[in-house]
C-alpha cells in the first residue's frame, strides 16, 4: 500500500468507528446478538423435584410451534382468570387525593380463614381463599395473579417480605386447588402516582386514577409533564409517556431496580412447581418510542436482562446497570438461578390495537422456557373499535389475523403462545368472548380471562361474577354523586353466560400438539380428535361439572364435585366426544 492510499484508508477510520458505535445501539447490534443467541445451544434446566403439580417447560420440536409441556413432554393447556385483589389500586372517594395508602391489608394473617370487608371505594374486592375454590369450580387449572411493583418495593431498595408472603399465601391456596399460578408484574398506564391535572393545561381530560397501577412513586418520573388523557385512553397521557420512556431508558437506574425487585420475588418461588412462571411486564406502553424499535431495541432486550438476572444465563453483554442499556446489554446474574420457570413475554401494547406484529421477532434469549403472551381484544381495542367504525373495517383477516400472526411471532421468537388477557363487556359475550375462545381452540392456546371479580366499572363490571351493584352495572363510589362507602359483599352473581362460555371441557394435557378440538356451549357438545405417536403418555380431558353430556372414548372418572376427567392412553389416531346435553349452570343466589 503506498502512502497516499494508507492516508485515504485512515481518513475512513472515524466513519467506520462512528458506524460501529451507532450499530451497537441500534438494529445491527441487536440482530447480531440475536443471531448469536439463535446459534447458541439452549440454556440447560436445573432439575428440581416437583411439588403436587409437575414442573412445566416449553417443548421445542422442529417444524412445530413451541408449546407448554409437562414433565412427560405432554402439551399443557392453561385455562384461568385474572383476579385483581393483589394490585395496588387507587382507592377513595375524592380523586384529588393522589396517594392513598394501599387499601387491602398486605399482611397475610388478615386473610387466614377470613376475608377483609369489601368496599366500592376500590375497583376490586379482596382476594380470598374462596376465590381459588370457585375458580377450580369453573374448571380452571391456572390463575394469572397480577402484582404491583409499588407494593413489592414501596421504597427504593426495600423489598416487602410481607407482600411476597401474601403472594405465597395465594400460591398455596391455588396449589391446594390444583391451579398453577402465573406471577404477573402488572401495570396499566405506568403508575397510580403519575398525578392528575385538575385543570388540564393541554386541553385533555382529567384521568381516573383507579385505572392506573404499577410503579411506586419513587420510580415515577414524569419530567413535570401534565397528567391528562386524550382520545379517552389512559395511556395517551403526557405524564405516562414520560414516565414509561424514563423506565425504558433506565433513567436513574429504575429499570435495574425493577429487575432486582423481580429477583426478590423469584427467590421466594424458585423451587415451587405450582408457580408456572413470571409475566415480566404487563401491557408495555412504548412512551415516546415507536414500534418496531420499541420492542426490538428496548422491550425485548429488557426481557432478556430479566431472564439473564433470574436464570444466570449470560446472553447479553456486560454493561453498567445504572445507565441507559442499549439492546446488546445483558444483566448480571443476581444469584437466583431459577432455571425451571416459564417467562411470559407480553408484546408491546400497540399490538393489541393493530392485531399485527409490531416487532421483528428477533430471538431474545437462549433460555428455552419462553411464552409469548398476547392480549386479544379484537373489535374491543383494535383500530376499528377505537375509531368507532364497523367491525368489518379491521382487522382485514378477522379474528384469525391476530392468532395466525401470533403463532408466527411465537415461532420466530422460539416461544409458546398464550392468551395472557382477553375479555369484554357482558353484552359482548356471544360475539367477542365466544369468537376469542373459538380461536384459542383452533390454535391450541391457553387463556387468562380479564377479569375475575370487579366491584364496579365505568360501564358494567367485566368480571366473571357481577359487581357489588348486581348485574345491571353501577359506578364505583368515587364516581357517584353521593358516594356509597358502605361495606359490600365480595361479589354479585356468577354470570350465567360467562359460566357457560368459560367452564368448558378441554384437554389439560395432550400427548402431543397433533390434535384439534371444539366445544359448543349452546349445546354442550364437544369433540376432540388427534394422533399420538406410540409410547406417548396419556391424554387427560377435563370436563367441568357444568357440562353433563355422555362421553365416548377414553375412561371417565367422576370427581366429588361432579366434574370428570377422561383419560385415554392414545396410540395412533384417537377421538373423544361429549354428546349434546343441557348445561348445569350454578344458580345465582346473590
Amino acid at each position: 500500500m503506498v502512502r497516499g492510499e494508507r492516508l485515504t484508508a485512515l481518513r475512513g477510520l472515524p466513519v467506520a468507528l462512528v458506524l460501529l458505535i451507532l450499530s451497537l445501539f441500534s438494529y445491527p447490534g441487536a440482530e447480531v446478538l440475536s443471531l448469536v443467541i439463535k446459534l447458541s445451544p439452549p440454556a440447560r434446566s436445573v432439575e428440581k423435584p416437583s411439588g403436587p403439580l409437575p414442573w412445566l417447560h416449553v417443548a421445542h420440536q422442529k417444524g412445530h410451534t413451541p408449546f407448554i409441556a409437562d414433565d412427560r413432554g405432554r402439551l399443557v393447556l392453561l385455562h384461568g382468570a385474572i383476579p385483581g385483589g393483589l394490585i395496588d389500586f387507587w382507592s377513595g372517594t375524592d380523586q384529588s387525593k393522589l396517594s392513598p395508602p394501599p387499601y387491602y391489608p398486605v399482611d397475610s394473617s388478615a386473610y387466614e380463614n377470613r376475608c377483609p370487608a369489601n368496599s366500592a371505594t376500590i375497583r376490586v374486592p379482596p382476594l380470598c381463599q374462596n376465590d381459588l375454590v370457585e375458580m377450580a369450580g369453573l374448571g380452571f387449572n391456572s390463575v394469572r395473579l397480577p402484582l404491583s411493583w409499588s407494593l413489592l418495593e414501596p421504597r427504593r431498595g426495600e423489598f416487602s417480605s410481607a407482600y411476597v408472603e401474601r403472594v405465597a399465601q395465594v400460591v398455596g391456596w391455588a396449589r391446594a386447588n390444583g391451579l398453577y399460578v402465573i406471577l404477573d408484574m402488572h401495570q396499566n398506564a405506568y403508575s397510580r402516582y403519575v398525578g392528575r391535572a385538575l385543570d388540564p393545561p393541554l386541553g385533555g381530560e382529567r384521568p381516573g386514577l383507579h385505572d392506573y397501577t404499577g410503579a411506586p412513586a419513587w420510580a415515577t418520573n414524569t419530567n413535570g409533564l401534565p397528567s391528562e388523557t386524550f382520545l379517552g385512553q389512559r395511556e395517551v397521557n403526557p405524564a405516562v409517556f414520560a414516565a414509561s420512556t424514563n423506565f425504558w431508558y433506565n433513567v436513574g437506574g429504575i429499570q435495574s431496580e425493577y429487575i432486582r425487585a423481580l429477583a426478590f420475588l423469584a427467590r421466594r418461588f424458585r423451587d415451587d412447581s405450582s408457580v408456572a412462571g413470571y409475566s415480566i411486564f404487563n401491557e408495555p406502553w412504548p412512551g415516546f418510542n415507536l414500534p418496531p424499535g420499541f420492542e426490538d431495541l428496548l422491550l425485548f432486550p429488557f426481557y432478556r436482562r430479566v431472564i439473564d438476572a433470574l436464570t444466570g444465563v449470560h446472553d447479553g453483554l456486560a454493561c453498567p446497570t445504572n445507565l441507559f442499556m442499549p439492546a446488546v446489554c445483558g444483566f448480571p446474574d443476581l444469584g437466583v438461578r431459577d432455571r425451571q420457570h416459564l417467562f411470559f413475554l407480553d408484546t408491546g401494547l400497540v399490538r393489541e390495537v393493530t392485531d399485527f406484529p409490531t416487532h421483528l421477532g428477533l430471538p431474545i434469549s437462549s433460555y428455552p422456557n419462553l411464552v409469548l403472551g398476547i392480549h386479544a381484544y379484537t373489535h374491543k381495542y383494535t383500530f376499528d373499535a377505537l375509531a368507532k367504525l364497523p367491525p368489518s373495517t379491521y382487522p382485514f383477516g378477522g379474528y384469525d389475523q391476530s392468532y395466525d400472526l401470533a403463532e408466527r411471532e411465537a415461532r420466530t421468537l422460539g416461544a409458546a403462545l398464550f392468551v395472557a388477557e382477553f375479555g369484554a363487556e357482558t353484552s359482548e359475550d356471544q360475539q367477542l368472548v365466544a369468537a376469542q375462545l373459538e380461536e384459542q381452540e383452533k390454535h391450541r392456546a391457553g387463556f387468562a380471562f380479564w377479569t375475575w371479580k370487579e366491584n364496579c366499572g365505568t360501564g358494567r363490571s367485566w368480571g366473571i361474577y357481577a359487581g357489588v351493584y348486581g348485574d345491571g352495572g353501577g359506578r364505583c363510589a368515587y364516581e357517584q354523586k353521593v358516594p356509597d362507602t358502605s361495606s359490600k359483599p365480595q361479589n354479585g352473581c356468577l354470570r350465567g353466560a360467562r359460566e357457560a362460555l368459560l367452564a368448558r371441557p378441554y384437554p389439560r394435557v395432550a400427548p402431543s400438539d397433533d390434535f384439534s378440538y371444539s366445544y359448543t356451549p349452546a349445546t354442550g357438545a364437544f369433540r376432540l380428535s388427534g394422533r399420538a405417536a406410540p409410547r406417548n403418555a396419556p391424554l387427560e380431558l377435563f370436563i367441568p361439572r357444568q357440562v353433563t353430556g355422555a362421553v365416548s372414548g377414553g375412561v371417565a372418572v367422576t370427581h366429588p364435585d361432579g366434574s370428570r376427567t377422561v383419560t385415554l392412553s392414545a396410540r395412533g389416531a384417537y377421538a373423544v366426544t361429549i354428546s349434546p346435553a343441557p348445561l348445569r349452570l350454578t344458580s345465582c343466589k346473590a
Binding site: 481518513r11 451507532l22 438494529y27 445491527p28 420466530t412
Partner: protein, 76 residues
Amino acid sequence: MRELNATPAVVLGVLGLFSGIFAPFALVTGLNSLRRIRASQGMLTGERSAAFGLMAGLLGTLLLVGGTVYWFAASA
C-alpha cells in the same frame, strides 16, 4: 461547497440503523452523493458524510433483507 445530499445521507443512515425501512434510501442517497463528490474533482465536499450514509445504508439494507428472510423462514 458541500454536496447537497451528503447531510441527508447521514440522517437517513442513522435512521436506517434504528429502522431498516430508511436504509435503502440512505444507500442510494449516499452512493449518488459520493459519485458527485468524486466527479467534482475537489469542488464538492462532504465525502465522509456520504460514505457514512452509504455504509450505514448498505448495512441496514442487508439486515433488512436478512431479517425479512429470517422472519419468513422461522415463522413458516
